[in-house]
């Protein structure tokens, strides 16, 4: 097969997988601290439109990305206040965040439909980016692609090897015991939630600034939910998140690619593949209850109220 076409296939898959990876990494940290934030889709959409708007008005991609992260954090803050301070039900609040985020992004975005921006600049490292085959893949994409992969390793190190990561995991597994030891449970949960928001905002920014360089209502099309599923798929282990994100990005891209080959399947069936795959993967992972129990944070989704 033509080498150029193979490379461009891989590049397209990387682009499709990056938003999934970014959002899932953030959610993994949030869940490890014991907080279940179902509002990923809403946070991604708000991040996407804010980042896009910032890019349109300032022309600076960096500013766009930063604003998107802040927007995601702002949404996560609303979630945090409702669930960590007001002790509202985390599932319902996460759903509310998604519905609100979808509506807010549509409202803000209605003035930006049809506008287009130049895509995020790709890296151009002299000597390396020009290498055949590996050059464009390893050194020729925009920075966020590599950032997403680096983030996975950074989070893995943080959770496994650092003292603060240990505290976070302890809070996720047993918040009463952690509180008794004297760790600030609510504060750490806030920080974890905000980190999840920042990453979701970043994922949204990637969608509107690199993946499709324009805005459309509901443009994430369920990717936030797939990111949530990826965290379960990876049984809360960052390394597996990388595998899952690329697997799903690949399936999403393939379902369009396959049509061009003229395969005799209804296009709607092929488009349904990523969603069906998500269900299958969830089922396969979840059936091992022991494994889930071992790796899932024991206090996931349970509100914490310090007695006294």
């Amino acid at each position: 097969m033509d080498q150029v076409l193979v490379v461009s296939f891989i590049l397209s898959v990387m682009t499709a997988s990056t938003p999934l990876l970014l959002a899932a990494t953030g959610e993994l940290v949030t869940e490890k601290a014991g907080v279940l934030n179902l509002g990923v889709e809403g946070m991604m959409l708000v991040g996407a439109i804010v980042g896009f708007a910032a890019m349109v008005h300032t022309g600076s991609a960096t500013l766009g990305v930063l604003c998107a992260m802040l927007a995601g954090m702002a949404m996560a803050l609303i979630f945090g206040i409702l669930t960590l301070t007001f002790l509202a039900n985390q599932v319902a609040t996460g759903l509310a965040l998604t519905i609100f985020g979808t509506g807010l992004s549509a409202l803000v975005g209605s003035g930006y439909v049809g506008t287009a921006v130049p895509p995020l600049p790709k890296l151009d490292i002299p000597g390396l980016s020009g290498l055949p085959f590996l050059g464009p893949i390893l050194f020729g994409q925009d920075a966020l692609v590599y950032l997403s992969i680096a983030a996975v390793f950074a989070v893995a190190w943080f959770l496994r090897r650092s003292h603060r990561g240990l505290i976070l995991r302890a809070i996720g597994d047993s918040h009463d015991a952690a509180h008794a030891i004297g760790y600030p449970v609510i504060l750490i949960r806030y920080l974890a939630t905000l980190f999840g928001g920042a990453m979701a905002g970043l994922a949204g920014a990637y969608m509107s600034l690199a993946y499709s360089t324009s805005w459309a209502e509901n443009m994430t099309a369920g990717r936030g939910w797939i990111a949530l599923a990826l965290v379960v798929f990876a049984t809360w282990r960052p390394g597996w998140l990388l595998v899952g994100a690329y697997l799903f990005g690949g399936i999403m891209y393939l379902s369009l690619y396959v049509q061009g080959l003229g395969i005799a399947l209804p296009s709607q069936l092929v488009s349904a593949l990523p969603y069906v795959a998500t269900i299958l993967v969830l089922v396969l992972i979840s059936r091992d209850r022991t494994k889930i129990r071992l790796n899932a944070p024991a206090c996931l989704g349970r509100p914490f109220h310090a007695a006294g």
């Binding site: 296939f9 209605s110 439909v113 499709s212 360089t213 891209y253 690619y257 061009g260 296009s267």
Partner: protein, 361 residues
């Protein structure tokens, strides 16, 4: 509180509640009300945007004699019936419903408001007070095909389809016929996005088609994403529904631009003068409703061929769906010496020879 005070407050409250309706009916007598219902936002750079341009043309032409109202992003389905009825209720005498999915709601409301005239775009059902109108987009596709035939080195065009309806299918067939009139071995690859506007999927579809060897991209979807991908990848493509050159200056060859203005202005005049009748209008190049955006990024030879194709279609010299035409399976769909009539074109549900891909039967 005292009864007098209570009565005053109650009266004030009732007056405040009724005031808006009083004020509104006083000013409704004079200008001619024209209503529009859109399926998308007015800044969508495509379908709805072109209709809104038409609406503004009505305002420019008639000034104070008309008052236009529009409602955007109305979902097709039961909600649209309510919105159309509201527009009629508010005194609009001519209402344009600009998407196929508004067809049955328009007819239902038209029955309740026999003095109001309705214009339904891209539909096929009419009534005494419901007319239909559409553009022969496929003529533009043929011209695009001719240009692509001259420019494509691989001989493969990638076509991003929205939904497998006759309007899209006839566009694909016209394109490949135009392309094959220049390059008899040209082929077309299709990807169905199953939506009219989905920049993410449209961009990915463009990438997939380019990855499979297409070096010209055409689309029947509404966003600028495919052209942006073309710009990044160094291939060329055609814009859709409006001129997308600002999005992709090096990639856009031309675009089929919907130009509803002359039709809208004419129909408004007829409605105001009382000469309006229910008709079916399907305008092509020669009606002025279809315009090609300025040609760019192509060889002089391709440009000349495109312009000639436009003129020939407009004058009737070139009949696009004239036999012999074979479908994908090789069966002859249009025998030599005959041409498809409007009815057969409007119901087209087969793909011509040269297209890799399929539509449900």
């Amino acid at each position: 509180m005292k009864r007098r005070t209570f009565n005053k407050i109650l009266g004030a409250g009732l007056l405040a509640g009724v005031a808006p309706t009083i004020i509104r009916s006083a000013s409704a007598a004079d200008p001619f009300g024209v209503g529009f219902i859109y399926v998308g936002p007015v800044e969508d750079f495509g379908w709805t945007h072109a209709h809104d341009v038409g609406r503004k043309a009505i305002e420019a032409e008639f000034g104070d004699k008309v008052k236009t109202t529009y409602v955007e992003s109305v979902k097709e389905g039961p909600d649209s019936e309510r919105v159309i009825a509201e527009l009629a209720n508010k005194g609009n005498k001519l209402i344009f419903t600009t998407s196929f999915g508004f067809m049955n709601p328009t007819l239902k409301v038209a029955q309740r408001f026999p003095d109001v005239k309705f214009e339904h775009a891209t539909g096929y059902k009419r009534a005494d007070n419901v007319a239909t109108y559409n553009i022969r987009f496929y003529e533009g596709r043929y011209v695009q095909g001719v240009i692509a035939g001259h420019l494509s080195k691989s001989g493969i065009v990638g076509y991003i389809g929205s939904v497998p309806i006759p309007e899209v299918v006839m566009g694909m067939n016209a394109f490949i016929l135009g392309m094959r009139s220049v390059n008899p071995n040209a082929r077309m690859k299709i990807v169905w996005v199953n939506a009219w506007y989905d920049p993410g999927k449209e961009g990915d579809s463009a990438k997939a088609l380019i990855d499979q060897g297409a070096d010209v991209i055409a689309q029947h979807t509404d966003s600028g994403a495919p052209l942006q991908v073309c710009e990044q990848r160094g291939v060329v493509g055609f814009g859709q529904a409006s001129d997308m050159a600002s999005l992709a200056p090096k990639a856009q060859l031309t675009a089929s631009v919907d130009f509803w203005n002359p039709y809208y202005v004419r129909r408004t005049k007829e409605a105001m003068e009382g000469t309006w009748k229910s008709t079916d209008t399907w305008g092509g190049f020669n009606s002025g409703m279809l315009v090609m955006a300025p040609y760019a990024n192509m060889t002089p030879e391709a440009e000349a061929a495109g312009k000639a194709a436009e003129a020939d279609i407009s004058s009737g010299k070139t009949v696009i769906f004239q036999g012999p035409i074979k479908d994908q399976s090789g069966a002859e769909k249009v025998p030599a010496g005959t041409a498809l009539d409007d009815g057969a074109i409007a119901g087209m549900n087969w793909l011509a020879d040269g297209i890799d891909g399929q539509i449900p039967s």
